[in-house]
Structure formats: structure tokens, C-alpha cells
Amino acid sequence: MTTDQLYQARLRRYLTALRNEQPDQIPIRPFVAEFTAKYAGMTCQQVAHDYNLAFEAAVKCAREFDWDAIVPNMVYVWTGLAQAAGLRYYGIPGIGIPHTTGFNFIEPPEDQAFMREDEYDALIDDPTGFLYNVWLPRISTEVARIGEPATYRNNLALVKSSMAMMVYFSAFGPQIQRLQNECGTVSAIAGIFKAPFDIIGDKLRGYIGLTMDMATQPDKVLKACEALMPHLTHVGLTTADPAKQVPIGFWMHRGCVPFITPKQFQSHYWPTLRPCIEEFWKHGNQTLFYAEGKWDHHLDDFATLPERSIVFHVDQGDIFLAHQKLHHKFALSGGIPNVLLSYGKPDEVRAHCRKVIDGVAKDGGYIMDASAIMQDDTSIENLRALTDFTREYGVYSAGSQPASADLSQLSPCHGADVSRLTGLTGRAAPRIKPGICRPWEEKAKELPPITGDQDLVRRVWENVEALGNTYIWQLLLSF
């Protein structure tokens, strides 16, 4: 089999499973993060701080393991960029934490939250402006506050980090091609999304601050979630797979019971998340619910989403319960505990994989993966056991899709009726539309009357403005 044939077979297998159908065998899609460093003989510092080394390590794994899909660089936060921007919220390997440790997110103490409790109105009025004017100077050791004198370091940090982001993002295309051409491996996800409520907890108010706000000013929190919806959805849609094959990565954090109450889930988390997921699906994009922690309490709500609109990834939740509640609509992934993969024996790994496959993969719609991203504690021998066992045991007698089926018909959205979905339709338009920072109308007032092709001038202004928008929202969501 040529590498291209291998790629086509794996893509077909992965897409069929994403469609919740039965492929020829169970696709293997391990989210290997710092594991790649361990396997390639590198340190956590090397893969976090030099993304080219991370790319190399990922390619080496893809070449040497029989995996259908991986993430081009699951050690996603390039700490070189984090350092250029002066991000306060990362522990960078080798700088303050051991170079042998993966990067860590540091949540500031409650009284130093990146957004204060009385700043909801500003966030609601113009989320992008708030991020630039208030949030960025707080998260950065370099960026000057609005009203304070600009500094050399301020200017350098903005130029360096934004150019670094462009360079980094531009490197993903060739990396994805390498995975395809050299290894026959599919790039597993495309794009990024986080729930409005989660992002307020993660990067703005902090978990404790948000919890207190839910007691003292729940209406403001709800309005803020609503204000973030169109912007976060815009990020998801503009970073999604243009071919509409692989899902948008949705990293689910603290919006689950017991970190919030069931009532808060119903009043805040779910009503401001569900329309975004519907909007993605209206556009033909499936979402990977990467449900970090335990989300068992919310499976009935997830089950109300349109068929195939999501793939549900199980971390510490009960994968058998997830199968029972969701399998009629969505594919599942994950469910192999990281503790087992790190500290168990290969026989135990095989036994657990068998149990999961028997329980949830009988008729397809399952993608083999660990529960959470795999760091450098994951045993190489155990991951090999997972891979080999799944290849031996996870073969179906007959796939539901003929090998000749047109690949376009294997997109998760193919055949879906989205005509009755609401998504974000009907919601009040934000004062400043998603995807830009300053509206063209505002800029045009500063200019003399424009002659010639006015639409051209406007279009180019907005396209370049979009880069400024990308920078700040990607800092919020990805870095």
C-alpha cells in the first residue's frame, strides 16, 4: 500500500466513525502531547519551546505507530510565543518549573483576576475592545495599560508575538501535509472553540471569581456569555476544516457538575453553548466535545443536539453510560484512563481496551483514544499495546460504507437536514461585528472622501483588521 492509499484508507475509516457508522476497523486517534517528546528522545522543554521539534516528534510517532489520525502538534501552546507576549499565565518548562515538566496553566489568585468583578458591562459592550484594552495589559508582563506611556517593550511584545503567531499558524499547513505525505496520517481536528461560560472561568474571572459572580450577579454573567457567543462562534467557524471533514476542537473545562450546579448549567452554560454548536452544524462543521473531567450529569442535554453534530470524547466520565445515552446519535472517543496508560501493565491496557470495545464499539461509532491528552508519563509499551490490540481486536466483519464510496459522502454533515436549526439566528447583532476590531464606518470618518473602488478599500481594511481580531481571540482561546 502506498502512503497515499494508506492515507485514503485511514481518512475513510476516521470519517466513517465520525459519522457514527461502522468502518472497516476501529480508528485510532491518540491525542499525543508530550508523549511525542518522550518517544522521540526530547524533553518537554524542547517540544514546548521549539515547535519545529514538536512537529518532528509528532511526525516520528505518526510514522512509527499505526495511527489513523493525530493532532499535528498537541503540545499546542508554543511557549516561545507565550514568552514574546509576556503571558503571565503559563509556567514554561525550564523557566520557574523543571524543564522536564510540561507547560502549566497558572490561574491567578482571585484578587488578581484578569477581569475584575465590576467590568462585565465593558466586556458585554465590546468583547474584542475589552480584550485589547483591559485584558491584554493584565495578562502580559510587557504590554502597557491604556493611558500609560507606550514603551519599547510594549511595542516589541505586540510586534513579536503577533508575527510569531502568524509564523506558527503558517507552519501548520506544511506539517499537516507532512503527516499526510510521509506518514499517511490524518490531521485529527481543525479549529478551536470554547464555551462562553468556560472561557470566563478560564481566562477572565477565574473559577473562584466566576463562582462568586454567579452568586452576586448572575444576570451580568449571562449577558457576558451571550455577548461572547457570536465572537467565539466566529473563531470556530473561521478556523474549522474548510472541507468539513474533521471536527472543531472544543475543549470543555469547568462547566460541569459539581464545578457548577445543575441549575447553573441550565441557566447559563447550556443555553449559551447549544446555539453555537447548532451554528457550526448549520455550516456543516461537526464539533468534538472534548469533555475533560466528568460530564455524566449532562449527557441527556447533549443528546438533544442534532444527530452527528458532535463527537463525544470521554475523559473521566463513564463511557458505557455515555454510549447508552448518546450512541444513537453521536460517535464516541476516548475512555482509556491515562493512569492506566502511564502506570499500568500492557496486559491491563489490553484488558481495558477489550472491555471498552466490547461495551461501546460493537457496531462502529467509536474512536480509540486515551481519556485525556497523553503527556510524557505515558508508557511507550502501553501505548503500543493499545495500538496493537485495537488493530487486532477492533476489526469489523463488514464496514457500513463500501470502500468505493465517494469521500465527500463521508463528511459528517453529508445528508444532514439542518434547515430547521436556529443556531445564532434571531439574536441581537453585536454592536461591533465578529471578526474585526474597529468598524470600517468609524475608520472611514477619519479619511477624506474615497474615490475609485470603495468596496475594495473597505474589504482590504476589514481583511487586515481581521488579523488584529485573530490575534486577540487566539490569545484568549489557544494560548
Binding site: 515538566t101 462568586m212 457538575v257 502506570y343
Partner: protein
Amino acid sequence: MLDLQPLHDAILNGDAKTAKALTEQALAAGVAPLKLVQDYMVPAMGEVGRRFECNEYFVPELLLAARAMKGALELIRPLLTASGVQPVGRVAVGTVKGDLHDIGKNLVAAMLEGGGYEVIDLGVNVAPEQFVAAVKEKHVHIVALSALLTTTMPSMKTTIEALKQAGVRDQVKVVIGGAPITQRYADEIGADGYGESAAGAVALAKQVMG
């Protein structure tokens, strides 16, 4: 006689303002500080823990109650110290080396404070020798280790070994907790106890102290 049940209820309901006001009133009326703690505040936190265990309360209620308790305790603690009342126990808490996650650790600290324990919070990324120093210098009864990552779990083992090497392992009880931690792991590394959730921290502390 002053009805102090509302103090109990204010803590249970996470109403920090009322808890503080009622504590001030009670102290002004001459109620013994220790009585406030033992008869009303600690039982209220016990009830909070019970409700958490049976899914009536969730982490937000836990946090609010702990905060109400803390506010009231701040008024009382100087009086207890002045009258020579000792805390139920002294606990050093920290997230182990290589791990910078602190929400779980902070919750455990809040619950322990609420249970009448003196908490020495060593913070995050705490090296084994810092735990050893806390045992030697602060004379803690319990060392509570937290880890969120599977990669940093081994630091718990290293910390226990460091306590052994320093010859202080017998002087303290070691309890551990965090997302990837299990009772089995606690047994493997020779910890004295494992806590599945912060709500059970006080019960666990009582249990290991015997």
C-alpha cells in the same frame, strides 16, 4: 438568650455578610468564642459536606459556605489564640512539584479551615524539601498533597520518601488527592489517606489523626 441557629444557617447558606454580623453580635453579647465554633460553625460545615456527598450541594455552595465560615473565623481566631485554645490540628497543604494547579488544593484548605484546622498553605510547585521543612518548623500534624496531572503524581511518592529520609515521616500523616489519584495509588506510595473530594477533607483529617 441569643438564638445562634441563624449563624449556623448563614454559613450553611453561604451568606458571609450575615455570618459575620451574627458573629459580631454573639461576641458582643458575651458568647464564648469556642462555643460559636464548636456548636454552630463546625456543624454547619459538616452539614455542607454531607449535602455535597448526597448531591444536594455542589462546589459553588461549598465555596460560598467556606467563605462565610472564614469571614466569621477571622473575628474569632484572635480571641481563641488569646485564650490559649489550640486548633483541632495543623495541616500543611500544597500542590506537588511540577504542578501549578491550585483550585482543588485551595478548596481543601478552605474546608479544613472551616473544620477548625490551622492551615499552612505552601502554594503550588512545592518541592519535597518544603514539605519536610513545614513538618520540622511548623510542627504540622498532617501533610496534604495535591496533583492534577498524571505526570506529577510521582512527586507525591518523592515527597513521602523525602519525609522518610528526613526522619519525620512518623511525626505526620500524609493525605493525598487530585483528579488522577486513587485509593490504590495512595496505598502504593504509602500515604495515610486519600480524599476523593474536598468536601470530605475534614472527615479524612479526623480519620487519619485518630
